[in-house]
Amino acid sequence: MEFKKKILDNGLRLIGEVNTSAKSAAIGFFVKTGSRDETSEINGVSHYLEHMLFKGTEKFSALEVNEAFDRTGAQFNAFTSEENTVFYAAVLPEYLDEVTKLWIELMRPALRDGDFDMEKNVIKEEIAMYKDMPSFDVMDRCRSLHFDGHACGHSVLGSEQSIDDLTAEQMRDYFARRYAPNNIVVACAGDFDWEKVCSIIEEPCGKWREQASARKLEDCAGSGKSARGEKASLAREHICLMSGGMSAQDDRRFAGSLLAAVIGDDVGSRFFWELVDKALAEAAAMQFAAMDGTGAFCSYIRCGSENVSQVMDIVRGVFKSVADNGVSEDELRKAKNKILSALVIKNELSMGRLVDLGFNWTYLEQYRTIEDDIEAIKAVTVDDVHAVIEQYNPGEFTQFSVGPGQSS
């Protein structure tokens, strides 16, 4: 593995990790923008804009763009979160130059009115699709409740209303502010020629104009509120709990991930033995999400209506027990083993490696090898986990549930 780095005069950061034993290469444009960088008037614009980048440039139509990608056999797509918009492609090494050129083109999209109007239909279909996925819907609504008023509570998709009201002009303005070179990291992983990739990127991307695009960072402990949504036709109760946590810049994030695994890994965790093994809930999982300047622990639980109060008593009991008595050495060891093997397996794919590489640079301006992360996880002690619990008690949570109407 060899790490490479180059920063252009306009602030665009190029990084790469060359692995000549890989059969593929992956490239990603990590734009540091998401729903937290929106106002409520333009809520949903980051995600909508991600779609619009595929709609072509002054030179290419949407169909021509899609055809050009498909001619490389690329597995390409994009995703938008509260704080990042990432465009990526995994390809056979011989096609990396071509997909790199394509992404460079697309990063300066035409944003035509006609395409904007047509894509609005697709975005509204996506919003409708997620309404039919209560496990997703409940997390989205819990996030809004938890980050009550904080920008991280903005929905990534936006609402039907905010999307209806959004204009192409507002999107162009947002694009000009956020897709500045100094707000983008270009990362490559796998088998590729670094000099070649740089030579392709430097000239066209060097012309992009730097902009002030700093993000205001404020920590958020969470509202601690509780609410419930009803839909008569739902079969199950879907429960989401969120509590505050460390940021992506905080070294304690590894202890945070381990704590989440001890409490709520899919199997073998406290939630698993107390809730799933006993068939009181079919799903009970906790994850830790480190974000820019803040962070959150998030649990998702699904059970029958008849079990809700018992399940919530047990959940509170698990949180209380962790707060009062901590976690055991043995629990920590198992959690480490699971997280370490997941890390190794994920990073064996160029695409998996790309994501870690890009986000480490986005959040930390730092190159971390897989070994760095392995060492950091191994080094976490029971005391480190206890220190996290002391500051971020998972028992102080925000709760949002959706489920069927409650019979009185």
Partner: protein, 419 residues
């Protein structure tokens, strides 16, 4: 990249397959037990999903908790699933822990405790799984589609049926384990970093020497007439107050053993291989009808189909279905050289990209062996894809028109089908 394939057949008949991968530190393995949904006795739909939970609740000399802790201690990621033909048990993990993991999995398969008190929660979770499907219409429509498309019992739900799960007893489930956990018909596949001789010696010790008796093969599946479990029609609608109408559609395709298999795969790729493929272009890009739209080839050993999913708001459902079936039918009018070239490179690069994952390779070699009785090399597949031409694909499409569509919708509005 002439990959090596390791193969050995144990004395009890279990097939052991392996594909070594130089670039990885992980290993993935899977046991394919002939205990899938289609071979479950009539009246007990969902039994495999109960069993796949129950067998982890204690095995060998370990209690449920001890077994779970031992598996977790190895840091392995369980990858079990219930399919039409098989109940698969497996995991991905760091290579140095493989031997200990195989010891535990042998206990789970050969010496599960199957205690009465652990049966009830396993069954309850399976019942809950069926209830939960009602809150996931996108998943439910595809389960229903398979039920209606494949001849019974091939398409039987892998999730289960509530009434049938309620009538399943511990005694009955134990009988199913005894009959269907047949090691002589089990395929074991491993990919990644491993020592094949060591693996074979260990499996021989775990599964052969400890169990002298060779099991008689379990009875074959009897395949019924087409039309799904209730002899349902080609169109089934399930009323739901969902935001979208979830459309599942499926039509016949050649099986993996068929000479036209690669022509069919290329045709599906032209239809829905990438973002420039016809369904995405016509349904989403030009008309804005859907967010999620896609078709893929789906194969069992004895039947195969092309399955398509689309989710769209009620007022657009009819147009969506009409455009989709129109695109299926338009394929036989011809495909361009450029479409063929894109389909080929898409199929080939997907194959190579997947080959970097030990989990994908273990799954692929096991499945090939079951379907074909042998494992295709990546080169064989690439060459066969490369050998297709516009003429071969169009010839295949004209010879076998997509006339019959099985359609299932879930949502607030029905559609009208032409079939």
């Amino acid at each position: 990249m002439a990959a090596r394939l390791d193969k050995h057949i144990l004395d009890n008949g279990m097939v052991v397959l392996g594909e070594p991968m130089d670039a990885v530190e992980s290993v993935a393995f899977g046991f394919m037990l002939p205990a899938g949904a289609s071979v479950t006795p009539e009246g007990f739909c969902g039994a495999p999903s109960v069993i796949s939970d129950w067998i982890f609740r204690g095995a060998g000399d370990k209690s449920s908790r001890e077994l779970g802790d031992a598996l977790d201690g190895l840091g392995l990621h369980r990858a079990g699933s219930v399919g039409s033909a098989h109940l698969s048990l497996g995991a991905a993990l760091e290579a140095s822990n493989l031997s200990e993991a195989l010891d535990l999995y042998a206990d789970i398969m050969v010496r599960p405790s199957l205690q009465d008190e652990e049966f009830e929660p396993a069954r309850q979770l399976a019942i809950d799984g069926v209830h939960s499907l009602d809150d996931d219409p996108r998943h439910k429509v595809m389960i229903k589609l398979r039920e209606h498309f494949y001849p019974h019992p091939l398409g039987r739900s892998t999730i289960g049926d509530i009434a049938e799960l309620e009538s399943l007893s511990a005694e009955k489930a134990r009988g199913i384990v005894k009959e269907r956990f047949n090691l002589s018909q089990t395929i074991f596949a491993v990919a990644g970093k491993y020592d094949f001789d060591g693996v074979c010696r260990q499996l021989e010790g775990l599964f052969v020497r400890r169990r002298r008796k060779r099991q008689a093969p379990a009875g074959a599946v009897e395949v019924g007439s087409k039309g799904g479990p209730q002899g349902a029609g080609k169109y089934t609608h399930i009323d739901d107050d969902s935001a979208q109408v979830h459309i599942g559609l499926m039509t016949d395709a050649v099986r993996l053993v068929d000479a036209d298999y690669y022509n069919a795969r290329v045709a599906v790729s032209v239809l829905s291989g990438g973002m420039s493929a016809r369904l995405f272009t016509e349904v989403r890009e030009k008309r804005g009808l859907c967010y999620a739209i896609g078709a893929r080839y789906h194969a069992l050993k004895d039947a195969a189909g092309i399955m398509c999913y689309a989710g769209t708001t009620p007022e657009k459902a009819q147009e969506t279905l009409d455009v989709i079936t129109g695109e299926f039918n338009r394929l036989a009018d011809g495909i361009s050289d450029d479409e063929l070239a894109r389909a080929k490179v898409g199929l080939k690069s997907a194959l190579i990209l997947q080959s970097e994952s030990s989990g994908s390779r273990a799954g692929a070699i096991g499945s090939d062996y079951y379907m074909l009785g042998r494992v295709r090399s990546l080169d064989e597949i690439k060459d066969a894809v490369e050998a297709t031409s516009v003429d071969s694909v169009v010839g295949f499409l004209r010879n076998k028109r997509f006339e019959d569509f099985t359609v299932v919708t879930i949502g607030p509005k029905k559609v009208t089908t032409n079939t």
